[in-house]
């Protein structure tokens, strides 16, 4: 177990290296000169040359790359051209805001989606099952940027109940922030909730019909105990896998959601950085997000090993 764990831990090193390299190469390939972007079109040739030198743009690509990786290892993400601030500071300012809406939406999705899935499985082929599964299917097919606009249309434009821009401020009280969170979180939680409901239902159905559950039932155990203690425990592994995927993709969702609601998080930061050709900021934000992905996957794998002793990652050669 410990050996497997260590091996899994070592595996993330090449993955992270690939992430950093891909990011580096891609950002260098973005057309446009950051020095020109930064100084504006009226800048003199000398000024541009000076800034290029300062930014290290004249060094060979290989040197830029090794410099970058070397600094990353020390936790130095470089300096953002457009904000004129250390990238690490910008990321740390924005990251909590993104985590606030993405984690809230995932927690909500678990609290709503999993119970719906369980009830649907227990009451298979009842109206509750049909309605919730139709809703779940619509949920997973939802373009969330459209959902976001429709929420703004109904609750901000027409009813005027909820704010649609920004995240408010704690100075105006916690209520202000919560009110600003309602629409983005609703938008972000839709797909995970629907996905949890679907996977929980199918995983529970598989377990409920298994022989050992039938024998528990024959043994006279209470239905509630069977469902929540025995069946759910065995239905968990696929749900945990999906949890990992959803946690990771809530970052993707955040990019779109934040753009719609002007939420000051990583998503708006990255989109802005791309518009400004802010290499260092793009690199830092992308590397941080991707690294978060890699670690989430690691944690999911470990949890998976703990709840499902049958899985031995050494032998799990299948890619899926």
């Amino acid at each position: 177990m410990v050996k497997t764990f260590l091996r899994r831990l070592l595996q993330i090193i090449p993955t992270l290296l690939v992430v950093v390299s891909i990011t580096f190469v891609i950002t260098r390939m973005i057309p446009g000169n950051p020095a020109v972007t930064l100084l504006g079109p009226q800048a003199s040739v000398e000024d541009i040359a000076k800034l290029e030198e300062e930014l290290g743009l004249n060094d060979s690509l290989w040197k830029q790359y090794t410099d970058y990786v070397g600094k990353l290892l020390k936790g130095d993400f470089g300096k953002s051209y457009s904000f004129n601030q250390p990238v690490a500071k910008l990321l740390m300012d924005r990251l909590p805001n993104t985590l606030l809406i993405s984690l809230t939406s995932i927690v909500l999705a678990i609290l709503i989606g999993i119970p719906i899935g369980i009830i649907s499985a227990v009451k298979q082929y009842t109206p509750f099952d049909y309605i919730s599964m139709v809703l779940a299917l619509i949920g997973v097919s939802m373009p969330i940027f459209w959902l976001g606009l429709m929420l703004v249309l109904v609750f901000s434009v027409n009813l005027g109940w909820l704010p649609s821009l920004g995240m408010g401020s704690l100075e105006n009280g916690l209520k202000d922030v919560i009110l600003h969170m309602v629409l983005p979180v609703t938008c972000l939680t839709t797909i995970p909730t629907a996905t949890f409901a679907r996977i929980t239902r199918s995983s529970m159905l598989e377990v409920i019909n298994a022989e050992y559950i039938k024998s528990l039932r024959a043994g006279g155990l209470k239905e509630g105990v069977i469902i929540y203690k025995h069946a759910l425990k065995n239905a968990l592994p696929p749900i945990v896998t999906v949890l990992g995927i959803q946690l990771a993709s809530s970052f993707t969702g955040a990019i779109l959601t934040e753009t719609i609601f002007s939420w000051p998080g990583m998503g708006t930061l990255i989109v802005g950085a791309i518009e400004n050709r802010d290499y260092m900021l793009i690199q830092g934000a992308v590397v941080l997000t991707a690294a978060a992905f890699v670690f989430i996957n690691l944690i999911v794998d470990i949890v998976y090993m703990i709840i499902n002793p049958k899985v031995n990652l050494d032998n799990a050669k299948g890619g899926e």
Partner: protein, 299 residues
């Protein structure tokens, strides 16, 4: 049972077997799956729109009529109303289906083709090649999908072909991993060993014998990926990185409508609704195909 068989006679038995085989083939099974058929009908309607856009569009999708801008649905003969330039929204939705659906299908083909080859190589050769390819795929999968597509679009510049490439490349790892996993299972089975012993080349074994046996999950994934790619194209165009106006795509119609939620909410409402319905269609069909091709996954 045996008595009955004897009574039926050999010809009747053959006929019965044929009948059973026929009702159990994939297409007939799929036909019995109501939700999958519903999905297929939606897709057929959309494909009909794609093919006949020139004929069924009531107006030129790019004809400006500023005097009639922001018309509500049904006003002045515009069934879905008009947009901020007075262009007929129905016509733009119909022409937009071309871009949105062709881009999604194209991206899935790109992803499927590259992913298939990489997965076959990776799974079949194993060893160091497998490790390197899979680490690269892990690295790519570590990028939030939209982020990778956004970065690729920034490099490639907007335009339909580039959207196809960006979404396609971002989708490669999923296909590669599915194919690799399947190859690992299949490659040591008896029939593969038999073909090998008979002296078939690796190429022949891979494409002639392994590929046909692992194609089912790839087809399922392709259907679901098409659904995802429709959303991705719309998302990129929505962020202003995909198909640029005046060419209509559902994503950029929605982007246009975003700024007029107060005055003309129908623009955003209708274009997004078409995205939702089409994605729903592909998801329904994909679920159905999976149930049919992979009995283990059923319920």
């Amino acid at each position: 049972m045996t008595e009955k068989k004897d009574l039926l006679g050999i010809e009747a038995q053959v006929e019965m077997l044929n009948k059973e085989r026929k009702s159990n083939n994939a297409w007939n099974k799929l036909k019995r799956n109501k939700t999958a058929m519903f999905g297929l009908i939606i897709i057929c309607i959309m494909v009909f729109m794609v093919i006949t856009a020139d004929i069924i569009s009531p107006y030129d999708p790019n004809a400006l009529d500023l005097g009639n801008a922001y018309s509500k649905p049904g006003v002045n003969g515009h069934i879905f109303g008009t947009d901020e330039f007075g262009r007929d929204l129905l016509s733009r939705i119909i022409y937009g289906s071309r871009i949105s659906i062709l881009v999604a299908v194209g991206a899935t083909l790109v992803a499927g083709a590259i992913g298939l080859v990489l997965g076959l190589i990776s799974g079949y050769s194993g060893g160091i090649i497998d490790s390197i390819l899979m680490r690269i795929m892990d690295g790519m999968m570590a990028f939030p999908f939209v982020l990778l597509a956004i970065l690729l679009m920034t490099i490639l510049g907007s335009g339909a072909v580039n959207v196809v490439l960006a979404i396609g490349i971002a989708n490669v790892p999923i296909f590669a991993r599915i194919v690799r996993g399947q190859v690992l299972v299949v490659k040591n089975e008896e029939y593969c060993n038999a073909v090998r012993v008979l002296g078939a080349s690796n190429f022949r074994l891979l494409f002639g014998h392994i590929l046909p046996n692992i194609i089912s999950p790839v087809i399922v994934q392709a259907t679901l990926s098409t659904a995802g790619s429709i959303i991705s194209e719309a998302a990129l165009s929505f962020l202003g990185l995909g198909i640029s106006p005046p060419t209509a795509s559902w994503g950029n119609i929605l982007r246009g409508g975003k700024d007029y939620l107060n005055t003309a909410p129908h623009i955003a409402m209708i274009s997004g609704f078409f995205i939702l319905i089409t994605v729903l269609g592909f998801n329904l069909l994909g679920d159905g195909i999976r149930d049919v091709l992979d009995p283990k996954m059923k319920k």
